[in-house]
């Protein structure tokens, strides 16, 4: 069979899309290296502004807040994802449906609705806003992503493996640790990186749930953008990009492009 011919119009659109998606990012990366005092005047290449942001206490504090919140939200999300996935197979059909429904509802409802709901709950109960409340807010949607990713992998893992471990005398906990976890490992890894990336980038839930004393990097950036577009913002933006790109590179190295893109076919059960 001859190769299907490459149509002109879609190829042109594809090129335009790649430009549209990557041009803004490239612009930020280049601007962050500008030595000048303003964003618009190009005076030469330097790492000056990276030095400035590392020396800034407020920016450093925001960075570590983002990292800590991201890690905590990731742990909570992956644990919930694993528990939901394992429980679903052991439970009656009706309970499984309820689980699936609440997972997808968390994914589909706009974030502003769930964030406002949590804001009302914590204010109503008189719980102070801070790192813990932000972690809950992030885990609410990150755990839904984690559940979907882990469930897709678990669907391809037959009970036979864990049963075989049980036949060989392994107690449930040991069978879980030695058989199920290694089989789930790629999905755990992907869901952890997804959760961290979503948490690290979140604006809306953090706006509602962080209170006045806890500032994350995206919130700090939003404030700086609204006041002035300063060269510091470019350097922070470039730093955030580097963190994200490192995570993606790690993912591609460990798994493959298609699982990162979420387009890998479901494993056959």
């Amino acid at each position: 069979m001859k190769a299907r011919k490459r149509p002109l119009f879609p190829t042109i659109v594809l090129g335009a899309v790649l430009l549209l998606l990557n041009l803004p990012i490239l612009a930020v990366a280049i601007n962050s290296l500008n030595a000048g005092d303003t964003v618009t005047d190009w005076t030469g290449v330097s790492l000056r502004w990276f030095g400035e942001i590392i020396g800034d206490d407020r920016i450093r504090a925001a960075f570590w807040n983002s990292v800590v919140i991201g890690l905590l939200a990731t742990v909570v999300s992956v644990v919930i994802g694993v528990m939901t996935t394992l429980a679903a197979r052991l439970l009656p059909k009706r309970a499984q449906t309820a689980f699936t429904l609440t997972t997808y509802a968390r994914l589909i409802l706009p974030e502003v609705v769930t964030a406002v709901g949590l804001y009302l709950l914590f204010s109503y109960l008189g719980i102070g806003f801070g790192v813990a409340t932000v972690v809950v807010g992030h885990a609410l949607f990150c755990s839904a992503y984690a559940t979907v990713v882990i469930q897709a992998r678990y669907a391809g893992i037959s009970d036979r493996y864990a049963d075989a471990a049980a036949d060989l005398g392994a107690r449930p906990m040991r069978a879980f640790r030695r058989v199920t976890v290694p089989l789930l490992a790629p999905a755990l890894f992907v869901s952890a990186l997804l959760s961290f990336a979503f948490s690290f980038d979140d604006v809306l839930s953090t706006t509602f749930l962080s209170g006045p004393d806890t500032e994350t990097l995206p919130i700090l950036m939003m404030g700086m953008i609204r006041q002035h577009v300063t060269p510091e913002v470019n350097a922070i933006a470039a730093t955030v990009m580097i963190v994200t790109l490192a995570a993606v590179a790690l993912l591609v190295a460990v798994t493959n492009v298609r699982s990162v893109a979420g387009t890998r076919d479901r494993p056959q059960s």
Binding site: M1, R6, F9, P10, V13, L14, A16, V17, L18, L20, L21, N22, L23, I25, V28, V39, V79, I80, M83, T84, L86, A87, R89, L90, A95, F99, I108, P110, E111, V112, V113, V116, G117, L120, L121, S123, A139, L140, V148, A166, V203, L204, P218, M221, M222, R226, V233, A237, V240, M241, T244, L245, A247, V248, V252, V257, V260, A261, G262, T263
Partner: protein
């Protein structure tokens, strides 16, 4: 199967013995995520609906649950109705543009050599992974009076010299399209990629070519991916906060920004709740209306 009767009976007793602890283990595992969902998802939504029927005393800022429908009437008047309408319009426009751009782009991707397709997938996905704030901040600088995009448009006389393209609905749409486009391209690409080339050959043999083959064969077969993309883009875009906050500059408000101001600015919880509940109800109606399609969607994701 050549299992001896001995092993089989052993296996059977094993499963029947395991049945009770198996279900018990299921519920033990299910309890923490269930509690998490109940406390942090179901209860807040119930509280949200409850608050939307409450009242705030303008002088004391005290909130009482009086079962008034006043907030709900306010939602559909004046600036609130126009913020809701603007959100829906900007979301629909952005989603439509994503379809018009995303479909040909996905089609173009499937026609590339396999190795090239993986690189293109990365080029589409990596920008999506990069922070929303960073990407839209980038557009803010590109669309400013000295920005690269503005300069280029000036050069071809599309806009006047010194024009500021920021803080407009157009800027928000540009931000939304470039932010959400990967979520449109990916499911369409997956659906297109799954179409068996033999089907297209069969269509060609039966006399369907070009536009006709596209309309009668490619489009119907890629519909699940298209619908998935529309939902993945349209739903979050309606409740978007970050993009209008950056590119709208507080001037072009969408409902997400109004809700934030009601809670964190004015402290009018009941009205803010009514607005959030309206947004939720609106999207639930859309989702229920496309329920059948969502079931197909699970195959694509």
């Amino acid at each position: 199967m050549s299992a001896s009767g001995n092993t089989r009976s052993r296996l059977q007793t094993k499963t029947s013995q395991a049945r009770v602890p198996r279900r018990f283990r299921g519920w033990a595992l299910a309890t923490p995520p269930m509690l998490f969902t109940l406390i942090f998802f179901i209860a807040p939504l119930a509280l949200l609906v409850l608050y939307s029927f409450g009242q705030m005393d303008i002088l004391t800022f005290q909130i009482s649950f009086g079962w008034t429908t006043e907030n709900w009437r306010t939602v559909f008047t004046g600036i609130y109705a126009s913020a809701l309408l603007r959100s829906v319009v900007l979301s629909v426009v952005s989603t439509a543009l994503c379809v018009l751009i995303g479909f040909p782009a996905a089609l173009g991707m499937t026609r590339m050599p396999a190795r090239m397709q993986n690189i293109l997938l990365l080029a589409v996905i990596v920008p999506y992974w990069i922070s929303f704030v960073v990407r839209n901040y980038a557009w803010l600088t590109l669309l400013g009076p000295d920005g690269m995009v503005t300069r280029c448009l000036e050069a071809v006389h599309v806009v006047d010299v010194g024009k500021d393209l920021r803080y407009t609905s157009t800027a928000i749409v540009i931000g939304m399209v470039s932010s959400y486009l990967p979520l449109m391209i990916l499911p369409i690409y997956v659906a297109l990629e799954r179409i068996d080339p033999a089907v297209l050959d069969a269509a060609a043999d039966l006399g369907l070519h070009g536009v006709h083959a596209f309309r009668r064969v490619v489009l119907p077969l890629s519909a699940p991916g298209l619908i998935a993309g529309v939902l993945l883009v349209g739903v979050p875009a309606t409740g978007e906060y970050t993009i209008p906050a950056i590119l709208g500059g507080g001037k072009t408000l969408m409902v997400g920004n109004v809700i934030r101001d009601k809670f964190l600015g004015v402290g009018d919880f009941p009205l803010g709740s009514a607005l959030a509940a309206t947004l939720m109800a609106l999207l639930i109606v859309v989702l229920v209306a496309s329920r059948k399609r969502i079931r197909q969607l699970e195959d694509v994701l």
